[in-house]
């Protein structure tokens, strides 16, 4: 699977730890160190507060020098995020954060670069940049806050809104079939794809940790409640009455079972698709075991298709986490190779050689 240069040991994906090149903090950190003096201006009750708190409390775990962390965002409610993180940060333009972050990460291996985006920002206006960042496998962590609505522009349907959704711009119902962000990311050759939910701090933190430890592009879809324009969009996954039946918690190496008593499970049907069954009706050995490291993305893709529009059978957790060559590592390796094989003499001599070229003549 690997491209040329697979024998070069230094910068191969999988051999270099995700954060090995990022300087470490000199002192112990706390969540407070990551809070800025700016007043947080999301609507009261917004799911973004919970995600911000989770990220701020999780960051000290990484023990990175704060000045080597950068949050880049696009436009939308979620994209205000960098203003509230006491790291370096850029609030850029609509949809372009993955492109801007790609340039930053590709030129600065000593940085931990995070992109914060929303369903409109990442999947509509910025869809192209998202899929290309994923296929290149740039060393970026992308947090996609999915609230299935446009919040900042006050309530139009988004590319993840359900078909038929009534919004300000679709009074008779949306005609657009929605994206499944996890399926999309897998189709775009993503090396790491996960999903979590704003209300489950513990789960969200575990997914963020796994993303941070992944070298390459990590996409984390976070179901996030917009209590103003799309309240309770994910209620079925939160309500104690329904959540156990609706949520599939993916664990690598564990059978895919859910429900209060683990009464639901998936098995492979004869046509090799996933089939939902009662656990009691099948031999435990038949139940599909989750393999996040499978080279072939088909398994993760099948899981991403289990949920329906009502959110029944929604998997959360890490769908896929595989080692694949990382764009910025490959780029750096080419530069090093060129410097070793083509470079000779000091910088001035080299530049002189370049400007002289081979076909010159002398006058006077």
């Amino acid at each position: 699977m690997s491209t040329h240069g697979a024998d070069r040991p230094d910068t191969r994906a999988g051999r270099l730890g995700a954060l090995d090149l990022v300087p470490k903090a000199r002192d112990a950190q706390s969540a407070k160190d990551f809070k800025t003096d700016q007043e947080v201006r999301w609507c009261p009750g917004c799911g973004d507060y919970a995600i911000l708190a989770a990220v701020q409390s999780f960051m000290p775990e990484l023990g990175l020098a704060r000045e080597n962390i950068v949050f880049v965002s696009g436009i939308g409610c979620s994209s205000r995020f960098p203003y509230y993180m006491d790291t370096f940060g850029m609030h850029s333009i609509h949809g372009r954060a993955p492109a801007i972050a790609t340039g930053l990460a590709a030129s600065r291996p000593d940085l931990s670069v995070w992109v914060v985006t929303g369903d409109g920002d990442a999947l509509s206006i910025g869809g192209n940049h998202l899929i290309h960042a994923l296929r290149r496998n740039v060393n970026l962590k992308i947090l996609l806050f999915n609230n299935r609505i446009y919040g900042l522009t006050k309530g139009q349907y988004s590319p993840t809104s359900e078909l038929g959704k009534i919004t300000k711009s679709t009074p008779m119902g949306s005609l657009d079939a929605p994206f499944n962000p996890v399926s999309l990311a897998l189709g775009a050759e993503a090396s790491f794809v996960a999903r979590s939910i704003d209300s489950d701090r513990k789960h969200l933190t575990s997914v963020l940790r796994a993303a941070a430890e992944h070298r390459g592009t990590a996409l984390v879809e976070i179901y996030q409640n917009c209590n103003i324009f799309n309240d309770n969009a994910f209620e079925a996954l939160k309500d104690p009455e329904t959540r156990e039946d609706f949520t599939i918690r993916l664990e690598h190496g564990q059978p895919v079972r859910w429900g209060e008593q683990g009464q639901h499970a998936v098995v492979r049907a004869i046509d090799s698709s996933l089939k939902v069954v009662d656990s009691a009706d099948v031999d435990p050995s038949e139940i599909v075991v989750h393999d996040a490291h499978a080279e072939d993305p088909s398994h993760a893709f099948d899981l991403s298709r289990l949920a329906d529009q009502t959110l029944a059978r929604t998997p959360i957790g890490v769908f896929r986490a595989v080692d694949r060559p990382v764009y910025d590592d490959l780029m750096r390796a080419q530069l090093e190779e060129a410097a070793q094989t083509q470079g000779a003499g000091n910088a001035t001599d080299q530049l002189t050689g370049l400007l002289q070229g081979s076909d010159t003549w002398r006058v006077g």
Binding site: A65, N68, M85, M90, I100, G103, L111, Q350, W361, R362
Partner: protein, 619 residues
């Protein structure tokens, strides 16, 4: 039997053929031979956007014009003295540009009934006397090439393909060009295919020998080397010069070069060239689209790289929102627009300079950026260095307006001594810059240098300088989000003042007025420098006084521009657009500038401009 050698002071040759005939390569080789001989020269490649238009048709004609002389020249020339026409289409497409008495070398093998019909010739022009005003040399280039290559193990098609080398050999003999360079070039180009290499070299030599023996050419010509200023020279095209200028600027600034680009004609060669120079630490990123290309560059600029994006007009349109972000973030960014004929897709391989107003005003809000334009292919080198100086000193995106003529055209370039290149080092912020009354300190990302009005360049990884910036309006000093009306008014004005302030560091506009009596000033910018200069020479030779001034800085203008313009009764502004610079100078200086405008996708002809200037001067 040695033939006579006749001395000439200048020659214009045009090679024309089908897109697949290798005319650009032939022209390139002849140029390199001419350059190494020491002539002054100027070239104009002119080719269709289609990679292979239908063979033998008018749209498929690809041409390369070269003007070389024993003195300094300014343009690729208006009217070819010699046309090499590889087929009827090439003859038909170029005939109208030839002066009476010009030499035409035609490949008779292609003048078949079918090929003649394809381009609407009812009779063969080689036989019907319609070319009586010219010196026609009818030569079976294809058949003679095939004949010469007998015995080499290649197909007939491969042998036919070497006919351009036969033509090159003939022309090389005709003008006494040195041949070692071309032989060496062919050896290296076809190093992996000995038969093809042998075929091309044999064809080239056969062409030379044909010239020496045929009675069709009774004399050969010589154009003595030009007396250029002393130094080491090489031939240089505009896109190559831009790429070298950027590598040099990277070395001189100590900033690693990052290019974000998306392939687009005629700018792609900047991407191709820079991608070869990884040993200089150059990172090239071929993005998914124009927007990502400039976005990645801006991200790299934020991280402390010398960031560049290269494109043409349609790409500039797509990048404008991100350039606006660069204006707001106040980060250095180089945006190269190699202009081509528009609007929309326009004519991708044809030149124009109609993006000036797009560069000036193409963004939302008040978003001023400095603009610089090279005047000749080799001048692209220095223009790149100047753009970098402005961008890094003032922390602002700078647009370089090159064009298709400069990008692909070439001229001799006196290679600068690296020791003489400007020092472009700029400091990054390293510590707090704000002290409060109680002695506490902080880093304020929008606290400005009082002289340049630039804000600090504080790159990630610098402890204590953590800060957030964005496209939302920022409070002066702190950079925090601000919707305060007075603050916005202040910030809009200070961003403008910063760009206006660049004028203090650019040299005054020089006027070329040899007699000192001119009442007409011809003002230009960009690639029209050569044609305007050549036209002024013609006019002056006729005894008419005229002054010439040429702008490198389009925004801001040199401080003395208003004064210069007011010093003349008439200001004439020739442009390859409908009057964009004229509009700017009229608006800014209330000067009644007259435009002379052409948008034909080709540079001005010097003769035509000369007649316009004379007419204006005699009013």
């Amino acid at each position: 039997m040695a033939k006579d050698v006749q001395q000439l002071d200048r020659v214009i040759i045009r090679f024309a053929g089908d897109s697949g005939d290798g005319m650009q390569l032939t022209g390139d080789r002849f140029t390199t031979e001419t350059a190494s001989f020491g002539n002054d020269l100027s070239t104009l490649p002119d080719f269709p956007a289609e990679i292979r238009a239908p063979a033998g048709t008018l749209p498929g004609v690809s041409a390369f014009q070269l003007h070389f002389a024993d003195h300094d020249i300014m343009t690729p020339g208006d009217r070819p003295d010699v046309l090499v026409a590889m087929n009827p289409a090439a003859l038909k497409a170029n005939l109208r540009d030839l002066p009476r008495g010009a030499d035409i070398i035609v490949n008779t093998d292609e003048f078949t009934k079918r090929n003649l019909a394809k381009v609407g010739y009812e009779t063969n022009p080689l036989e019907d006397d319609s070319l009586h005003a010219y010196n026609v040399h009818s030569i079976g280039l294809t058949s003679m090439t095939v004949e010469a290559l007998k015995g080499i193990a290649i197909t007939k098609k491969e042998a036919e393909r070497a006919k351009n080398m036969f033509a090159l050999g003939l022309l090389s003999w005709l003008y006494n060009r040195p041949t070692e360079g071309t032989i060496k070039f062919l050896e290296s180009k076809f190093a992996r295919n000995a038969a093809i290499m042998k075929a091309n070299i044999t064809a080239f030599n056969a062409g030379w020998n044909f010239g020496e023996t045929t009675e069709d050419f009774s004399v050969s010509y010589e154009v003595k080397p030009a007396a250029l200023p002393a130094g080491n020279y090489r031939n240089m095209s505009g896109n190559l010069a831009l790429a070298y200028g950027l590598v040099a600027a990277s070395q001189q600034s100590g900033l690693p070069l990052f290019l974000g680009s998306y392939p687009i004609t005629p700018a792609s060669d900047v991407l191709h060239e820079l991608s070869k120079h990884k040993r200089f630490g150059v990172r090239t990123f071929q993005a998914e689209d124009e927007i990502a290309a400039v976005g990645a560059a801006l991200g790299a600029a934020y991280g402390g790289s010398l960031a560049v994006t290269s494109t043409s007009g349609p790409g500039l349109a797509l990048k404008q929102e991100t350039i606006g972000l660069g204006v707001s973030l106040e980060l250095p960014l180089i945006v190269i627009d190699v202009q081509r004929a528009g609007p929309s897709t326009g004519m991708p391989t044809k030149t124009e300079q109609a993006d000036l107003l797009q560069a000036m005003f193409g963004r939302n809000g008040e978003a001023p950026v400095p603009i610089v334009a090279p005047r000749s292919p080799a001048d692209c080198f220095e223009t790149a260095l100047e753009a970098v100086r402005i961008a890094t000193t003032y922390r602002v995106p700078v647009i370089i307006l090159s064009d298709g003529y400069l990008a692909n055209g070439s001229e001799p370039w006196r290679i600068p001594d690296v020791e003489d290149l400007p020092d472009l080092r700029v400091p990054f912020a390293t510590e707090h810059n704000k002290t409060f009354e109680d002695g506490a300190t902080a880093f304020w990302p929008y606290l400005r240098d009082p002289e340049t009005l630039a804000r600090p360049w504080a790159v990630p990884g610098t402890a204590g300088l953590e800060h957030r910036i964005g496209g939302i309006e920022k409070a002066d000093g702190t950079g925090n989000i601000s919707y305060d009306p007075a603050n916005h008014d202040f910030m809009v004005r200070i961003r403008q003042a910063k760009v206006d302030g660049v004028a203090a560091t650019i040299p005054p506009l020089e006027v070329d007025d040899p007699s000192g009596r001119a009442r007409v000033l011809v003002l230009g910018w960009g690639s029209t420098y050569g044609p305007i200069g050549a036209a002024c020479r013609i006019v002056r030779a006729d005894g008419v006084d005229v002054a010439q001034a040429h702008l490198r800085h389009l925004n801001p203008f040199p401080s003395n521009l208003g004064e210069v313009l007011r010093g003349y009764d008439t200001v004439l502004v020739p442009e390859m657009n409908l009057g964009q610079l004229a509009m700017l100078v009229r608006a800014k200086f209330l000067v009644d500038a007259i435009g002379y405008n052409q948008v034909r996708g080709l540079p001005f002809s010097a003769e035509e401009l000369a007649s316009v200037i004379e007419e204006v001067a005699k009013r």
